[in-house]
Amino acid sequence: MSDTIETPSGAMPASRTRFGSNSGQPMTRRDGVLKVTGGATFAADNHPEGMLHAVYAAATISRGRVTSLNVDAARAHPGVVEVLTPANRPPLAIDPDTKPYPFAFRTEVLQDDTVRYAGQPIALVVAETLESATEAARLLSPTYDASPARIDFDTVEPFDPQAVGVGSPPTAEKGDVEAGLAQASHRVDARYETPGQYHNAMEPHAIVATWDGDRLTLDTPNQAIVMSTGSFGAWFGIPAENVTIRSPFLGGGFGSKAIIVGPQILTILAAKMLGRPVKLALRRDQMYGPVGHRGATRQEFRLGVDADGHLTALDHLTTAVTSTFEDFIEPASNASHDLYATPALSSRHKAVRLDIGTPGPMRAPGEASGSAALESAIDEAALVAGLDPLEFRLRNYAETDPASGKPFSAKALRECYAEGAERFGWSKRPLEPRQMRDEAGRLVGWGMGTALFPASMFQANATATLRADGTALVETAGADMGQGAWTALHQIAADGLGLDIGSVEFRSGHSGLPDGGIAGGSGHTATAGNALHAAGTDVIAKLADLATNDENSPLFGAGNVGVEARDGRLYRADDPDRSQSYGEILARAGLAEIEGAGQGGRDPASAEERAMFSHGAVFAEVTIDPDLGQIRVTRLVGAFAAGRIVNPRLATSQLYGGMIWGIGFALHEEAVHDKRSGRIMNANLAEYRVPVNADVPAMDVILVDEHDPHVNPLGIKGVGEIGITGTVGAIANAIWHATGVRFRRFPINIVDLLEGAAAR
């Protein structure tokens, strides 16, 4: 299979179906046919000549030391080539307990015999077959010197972290919170809990490592392809340019494939040691430990509300879990910075160290957990203020960014509220809970939440080459995680060149291409898209120079009035009858091609002046069986304003995906640890539940028009993560409205409902 498509170059064949041209059109995925026919090559589909299989043995204790491994038994198993343990592991160029490159996480690469969490790799077996390696890993039969696992918040003392998330300050203060609370007519003091959640991308992390002398080729899914060449290289003392990463398709990443993790390093090391390509693909259960997760939080709120329903103070304190050896503190309190107007705002974070794998960024890090709690707390505030939850949010609408005081680059949240409420029928909602039943007598409740996500950008480069035949090649090392980069970026690139998408070849997903930046923070389309567009306009500018300076061109002398590029021709801006094709211009200039380059990134001055966010409003209906406690989200409506929408079909899909994730957050997802061993007992997709189709009976997304002239030249914001925010709170609030009971621990499940009903 790996031979049938040219993934190394990342070239995509032309799409078979489309609906119009380029940006703004709801084109279907250009890689769709490849994917549904199995033609798309994922990392684990690569089988280079002579390849070996690696499987690691995972610790079954959460804290302590490995005291023995039966290496002889493993080595004696037929097909086994090598067993790596701390005793024989070859040296690495960097210390895994340091952070030598951007976004480095301390990780486990058999540096010693300590165990820091259950699931940590403690040995790597390399064999001729996967089955052989798997069985030999089992034969290692480790013994341990174990200490009690610290898994619960309450087992350890919290500490004050230096930073939260990826380098954000842990606290923010504005105004006098205590004074604000003292003046308030109403107060909400509430604590919410969110559990550990795991990314569970459909494609488990996989890597195929091939060395050629001191050059390394990696087939591995990666969200930051070019940057990662340097990071991988650092482990082996080779420069970035010696490392090639091929990552044409990712089967989901959600943040977990932006970070380099121990199992990948061990695989590369084994390949080097053995002089043969080595492949490792994590098993599903191995995805619960070494590759990050959304850390559990406890979030305490103190809200003050005056007699008119205006916030007088908002205090959000998050206590988040991290591992014993690395900090990733879920920045949940930051979700309160930019949403509701308040004279006094305080956001703080504490952390506890547990015997768990290090958390990391997971789809809407900070924002998802923070929004779940904040939107619940705001609903509670609306209740004490005696106001409809939408009315309460409108009274506390922030005209400028509450934390920084800056104006918003664009904010169509009011329109989101209005359009979403209208579509949902919110105006018919009774204020009191437990007022609605369906035809079968089940409780029905309506809730809402505000969605918010920063419009982040990274740095990206792109090139464009216009060819003599009027077609073009555009290149950037983008990452398609399933979100549709192969399509959306291609659409933007074609627009930059004034060409139909069918005349433009797009290369991506390969580290040899210009740096496409990070597919993360919902900023990839904005960043790589602006770079590709700029590369195209650079080409067009050069082309226009040629034409307007060419005496024999119909565009001669049009330099002042300008030209427009469209459908492969340049037109005089003031006279559409005067035009010339790209091919003719090149031919007359005697050129085989014209190259251009472009960059994407945030204008620092603009970033300094304005707060930049996507916004949205989510409305949820839940139906609950009053006796049996089973819950179903029977309707979800989300209205989102996220700047310019490049492809409404894909954007809607992203928002659906986020909202469905919100259903999972609200009702399903939770890693369950055995408190004694610390092991996660539901590390599989049967028992770690995510929503299935039957959990999503009706879902509606509204793309609200928003023109944002400041966020970047193309006005693009992100839609990848915002769908989760707002949704979780909307569902929790709907459950309150259905039952009259407030549940403050996620996920909200049947046992909660039964106990909650009993406590009423």
Partner: protein
């Protein structure tokens, strides 16, 4: 996964002979067994693949009027057989509430009866588990046991039998046909699975080498077709095991329940028929009061085995509800969400 021998017998006799070898295991669709082998939970040295045996894939009516289902009939084929579904609607409903469409398309009748518990300590080879490793202990006791049993458990094992299919089978008096080296025998489904007692590793009455060849439903079971439902409470709308489930089948005439059949799932260590609850209903008028009484009777012996006391109250409510659903009458068509509390095709009738 350990190295194992793969045998593909051509006849039942060959299969049974091959299974005489210690360490052998029968392979149905493998939806349960292969997962357990990959996790090192089951480590058979020989797999005897039954899926190529002739004649075990049929649903037929026997001369005595009973319906005989071959051990290799796929779960979905059985549920979608119109004639079968008409006569045993709760069985079809239970089947369709289990697993996912893909799994049901593969899973066999024999494999469904024989599926192992979903206790997460059973599946985790680093945990102590008497069922997996006799005498090693039971880490579910004192651990994460919210989904464990409140009926039929012992100090040696508290795990739930996970099958949905077996619940209406238990209610309707199904018979398991077994073939072994000594020939064929028949065992009522309610006697087929064993209580854990102090030998939880002995899950069924199958002796070494014996295989299931068929399951039959007696002719008289069809008399319940008009009032027969399965209800399953679970943590998501589909594709989840039961926290508590129940099958109910009633014969109602002139406003009186002549005969009732009730079995429970998700709450007991084996498919759990409750004759005590059935007795409460015999001769009673269908209605809330009788149903709640029956529910009490069904759980009279229940005790929490850990953090699962809620299952007793939940289980009672499931029984009362499924009885009300059965009394309201089997729906004309299979609900779009079989066995779900959200299934009500019958609208308001789903609530008493």
């Amino acid at each position: 996964m350990n190295l194992f021998e793969y045998v593909r017998p051509a006849s039942i006799a060959e299969a049974v002979a091959a299974a005489g070898e210690p360490g052998s295991a029968y392979l149905g669709a493998g939806t349960n067994l292969l997962d357990l082998m990959k996790g090192g939970v089951s480590r058979p040295s020989r797999l005897i693949d039954l899926t190529h045996l002739p004649d075990l894939g049929r649903i037929e009516t026997s001369p005595d009027g009973s319906t005989r289902i071959g051990a290799l009939v796929k779960n979905s084929a059985l549920a979608h057989d119109p004639d079968f579904a008409k006569r045993f609607p709760a069985v079809a409903e239970a089947l369709l509430s289990g697993a996912s469409a893909q799994l049901r398309n593969a899973a066999t009748v024999g494999g469904n009866l024989m599926q192992r518990t979903r206790c997460s300590y059973f599946a985790d080879t680093a945990s102590a588990c008497n069922r997996r490793e006799p005498g090693s202990g039971c880490d579910a006791i004192g651990g994460e046991n919210r989904s464990h049993a409140v009926l039929g458990w012992s100090d040696h094992c508290i795990a739930v039998h996970p099958s949905d299919f077996c619940v209406p089978l238990a209610a309707l008096g199904a018979i398991v046909e077994i073939e072994g080296a000594d020939g064929r025998r028949k065992v009522p489904l309610t006697d087929f699975h064993r209580l854990p007692g102090d030998t939880p590793e002995k899950e069924t009455v199958l002796e070494a080498g014996e295989m299931i060849v068929a399951v039959s439903l007696p002719a008289e079971a069809a008399a319940f077709a008009g009032h027969q439902r399965y209800l399953k409470v679970r943590e998501r709308t589909s594709y989840a095991f039961a926290l508590a489930s129940a099958a109910a089948a009633l014969r109602i005439e002139n406003g009186t329940i002549l005969e009732a059949r009730i079995a429970l799932g998700g709450v007991a260590t084996k498919p759990w028929r409750s004759q005590a609850a059935e007795a409460v209903l015999t001769g009673a008028a269908p209605g809330r009061e009788a149903f709640e009484k029956a529910a009490e009777a069904a759980f009279a012996e229940a005790r929490p085995s850990g953090d699962n006391a809620y299952k007793i109250e939940l289980g009672k409510r499931v029984v009362a509800r499924v009885l009300a659903m059965a009394a309201a009458g089997t729906p004309e068509r299979m609900p779009a969400l079989p066995a779900s509390p959200f299934a009500s095709e019958t609208g308001a009738k789903a609530h008493v």
